[in-house]
């Protein structure tokens, strides 16, 4: 009975907020919002929207950002997997990059900003000796009008994500045997992979790729930290309108959110066009039988791309950590003139509350998400068949619909029902985003569990509850905790849902960090971004250490 609740809860949790939220966004976009005196449907909000200066420029920027981010990160992952898959180096790089997955977007954006700014670490490293820059060059790098640094900030974060989903899909195509087979036909490593294996991998990672496009077209925090300001990308402007004292701006913001929805949809449609062109191109090359064996340049290039993207973040994080303990640190000094723990001492008191809220919300939403995911899987086991494609698409809904597009409406709903800025509302909003990740990452370990253990235990006279708590749960402890760590890191990194639903009263480390970004105080940003980095890392550490300790006597429980 309880397990039947699982799928219902999951579907309700994933669709209701998105559906209600969209309604709450779309209605005001067409002028209907009785609470603000909008009683009649009309296109006036859109007229205002398109009269906004450079609105199409903002929309175009968002569209291009989404496509470029997805294209570059996917290409890098594909080439890297093609060139190095199955080697020891691949495994090493994979270990290097995986932790970045849990790093909140805002923290990695800060890391990049600290690195590439004209007064950043790179400039300091090579100045003035190599460049002659006695003072930082007047170069528009961070906040550049083309959004290049914003895209870079997104790409370095999406590469680990796409690499991980690719790795999850890889075993199903039996890569080792296929590689050998294709190589025996004389194909180069990369061309063999791209022509022979990638076509069966890509359909499995298509939804995650769409999620990347949706995220990159509508991102707010990374755009605020690295993105252009004249004009800002669409989503950033929307959030600003949403916060405007002139309440009629809400109509404009809602119309803008509908435009955002269109931009994201357009980006995905264009991407589907790319897919078709890519497939045709691939078929042509494949039919021509071109072996393309000389790919060493590309192989090293792919490796370099991965190393640079990971290296940039790690170097940036280091810079960030340094700033958090820096006293006076002038350009072009590579290190602070003196170190000073005062920054930490000063920030610590104001860190306590957001930290407590971050931990509480992340903990509860993760716990609930994992429980619901487990209920879903138990129900699936009872039914004997997995959910269809439709259910899977449902799962991706909160990741495919731009956050601004439904969070505006959801916020409105929460205001009207008087639950805005309550802990329950915030946990609920986080759950919408944590649940998909919990479900998706628990799917494989759950299905990999050998059902016969269950049957043996049943044969020993053990009922379902006993079997679950004494066999299934302990045996899946490690993957469950890993899933919890993922959910935890997702929650810690959520910016927009926290900002809109927490309404400034419930703030987390991430909303505080992004709020401080505008202040440009590198020391304080360093501290917050450092905390952002530490929290998920601590989550993963717990997820690794706890089962290792509990099961230290049992070899097969180690991985």
């Amino acid at each position: 009975m309880l397990t039947r609740l699982g799928p219902m809860l999951a579907i309700g949790l994933l669709t209701a907020p998105v559906a209600f939220g969209l309604a709450g966004t779309v209605l005001p976009a067409f002028g209907y919002l009785p609470a603000l005196g909008g009683m009649e449907f009309g296109l006036a909000p859109f007229a205002t929207l398109f009269a906004e200066p450079a609105i199409l420029m903002s929309a175009l920027m968002s569209l291009v950002t989404g496509l470029v981010t997805a294209a570059i990160s996917l290409t890098a992952v594909m080439l890297f997997t093609a060139a190095w898959g199955g080697t020891r180096l691949f495994a090493r790089i994979q270990h290097l990059i995986s932790p970045l997955l849990s790093l909140p977007h805002a923290a990695s954006a800060f890391a990049l900003a600290f690195l590439i700014a004209p007064s950043g670490m790179i400039a300091r490293l090579i100045s003035p000796e190599l460049t002659g820059w006695e003072r930082p060059p007047d170069l528009l790098i961070v906040h550049d009008p083309l959004g290049l640094s914003m895209m870079a900030g997104l790409i370095v974060k999406e590469i680990p994500f796409l690499l991980l989903v690719t790795l999850a899909a890889l075993p199903q195509v039996k890569p080792a045997r296929m590689r050998a087979l294709i190589a025996s036909m004389g194909y180069g490593r990369i061309s063999g992979f791209v022509l022979g294996l990638w076509p069966s991998i890509y359909p499995q990672i298509r939804l995650p790729v769409f999620a990347v496009i949706a995220f990159a077209t509508s991102v707010v925090d990374v755009a605020a930290i690295l993105g252009p300001t004249t004009p800002a990308p669409l989503a950033v402007r929307l959030v600003n309108w949403m916060n405007d004292p002139d309440l009629s701006m809400r109509f404009l913001a809602s119309a803008g959110a509908v435009l955002q929805l269109g931009v994201t949809a357009a980006a995905i449609l264009i991407w589907i066009g790319f897919e078709k062109i890519g497939a045709r191109l691939r078929d042509r090359v494949a039919c021509a039988g071109r072996r393309l064996r000389r790919d060493s340049g590309l192989r090293w290039g792919a490796l370099a791309a991965m190393l640079v993207s990971a290296g940039a973040i790690f170097a940036g994080l280091l810079a960030l950590g340094l700033w958090s303990v820096a006293g006076l640190w002038q350009y072009p000094d590579l290190l602070p003139a003196r170190f000073d723990l005062r920054n930490w001492m000063r920030v610590l008191p104001s860190l306590v509350e957001p930290l407590a809220i971050t931990l509480f919300v992340a903990f509860i939403s993760t716990l609930v998400a994992v429980v619901i995911a487990i209920l879903c899987f138990v129900r699936e086991d009872e039914m004997g068949y997995p959910p269809g494609r439709g259910a899977l698409a449902l799962l991706y809904m909160p990741l495919l619909v731009p956050q601004v597009a439904f969070l505006f409406g959801l916020q409105l709903l929460f205001i009207l029902t008087g639950v805005q800025a309550t802990m329950a509302a915030l946990v609920f909003a986080h759950l919408v985003f944590v649940l998909p990740y919990a479900y998706l990452s628990l799917k494989d370990p759950w299905r990999a569990f050998d059902r016969r253990y269950d049957q043996i235990a049943a044969g020993l006279g053990k009922g379902p509850v006993e079997r679950f708590f004494q066999i299934r749960l302990p045996m899946l402890a490690r993957p469950l905790l890993a899933v919890a760590a993922i959910g935890f890191s997702v929650s810690v990194g959520l910016y927009l849902p926290t900002l809109l639903i927490g309404a400034g009263r419930l703030t987390t480390i991430t909303t505080e960090a992004v709020a401080l970004a505008s202040g440009g105080n590198r020391r304080v940003i360093g501290i917050y971004a450092f905390m952002q980095m530490v929290l998920p890392a601590a989550g993963f550490a717990v997820a690794t250490i706890v089962p290792a300790l509990i099961f230290r006597r049992y070899r097969d429980m180690h991985v």
């Binding site: 709450g24 004009p231 009207l416």
Partner: protein, 408 residues
Amino acid sequence: MRALLFSTALLAIGTAPAAADTTQPDPSNWDAVLEDARGETVYFNAWGGSQNINDYIGWAGDELKERFGVTLKHVKLEDTASAVATVVAEKAAGRDGNGTVDLIWINGENFAAMKEQGLILSPGWAEKLPNWTFVDVENKPTIRTDFTVPVEGLESPWGMAKLVFFYDTARIKVEDLPRDTDGLLKWAQENPGRFSYPQPPDFIGSSFLKQVLAEKIDDPSLLLDPVDEERFAEVTKPLFDFLDGLNPVMWRSGRAYPQNYPAMKQLLADSELDIIFAFNPAEASSAIANGELPDTVRSFTFPGGTLANTHFLTIPYNASAKAGALVAANFLMSPEAQARKQDPAIWGDPTVLALDKLNEEDRARFDAIDLGAATLRPDELGPALDEPHPSWMERIETEWKRRYGVGN
């Protein structure tokens, strides 16, 4: 479809007025206010982009808790406008009591907007607060007139602000410093890429625009009245001619702007900018004390005068903790809190109090403050230019956004 209907229904419900909070504290009966306030939680909506200000508010919270049993929660805003937006939204949704905002750090356009829409606790309460007796109403006219709008006790003064420029003596000689905005333009042309201003509608950035306008306008009396739309283009032409000239020689050639004052401060520390400015004369000393700026930074103003104003605290009409908010506003106006605030090592925000109205002990608190080498003495600050009517700020920001805020 059902989802649509349901949410529509909810929207309709939302328009029904909530039960109003009828208890209205009376500041002239202060003991009753104190009693009322005990145990209340005051959500203080204040710009949160500066760590030392946040720390100061944190200190005030600790004191309020200990002395009056009032819990002060700092809701850190990027822009005060969002607090106003919240109150507006709550009024629109019929939430006339139990509002989520109790106290706002405010002045200028936001105050004008709230006052005009009747969103402030009234009748006027600020001049009935016990610490009002110390306020320097005689010599600080901006305390009773906020951006040309009469205050009428609807907000209590918290601090004084004056536009002051900072530079690094390690890079600029005193004799090269500009003496007015024209001089600034000339200096920028000679030193391209070394000057910028925060992107309007940032408060400091918009203030810079107003400074230029106030200096350049033919008839300054026009600024005391709301914008006359018909003459706007003509009247502001000198301002935008100036900006057109300044833009190409600015930092990043005017294609990007620092987001606010602290960002400019970092750019001065990084020696990307050579001249920056703030609304707080003690800012530079405070930054030096915190290791954020080198100790070679000094201040200057224009002999012809720079903008000056007062910043305030106000209480929304639907605040949940009105008594608590009154107690907080009164405490933040107390000699003790004001003296601490003026210390550059803490914040460095000039007081609204008249030192000659204080008792000896309190005056000693102010005398003990080391303003630091980078802070100008009050008599060195130069004349004060009045803030224009708030409608100017809004109108200039829109025009600025149209011209420079969209890239090219």
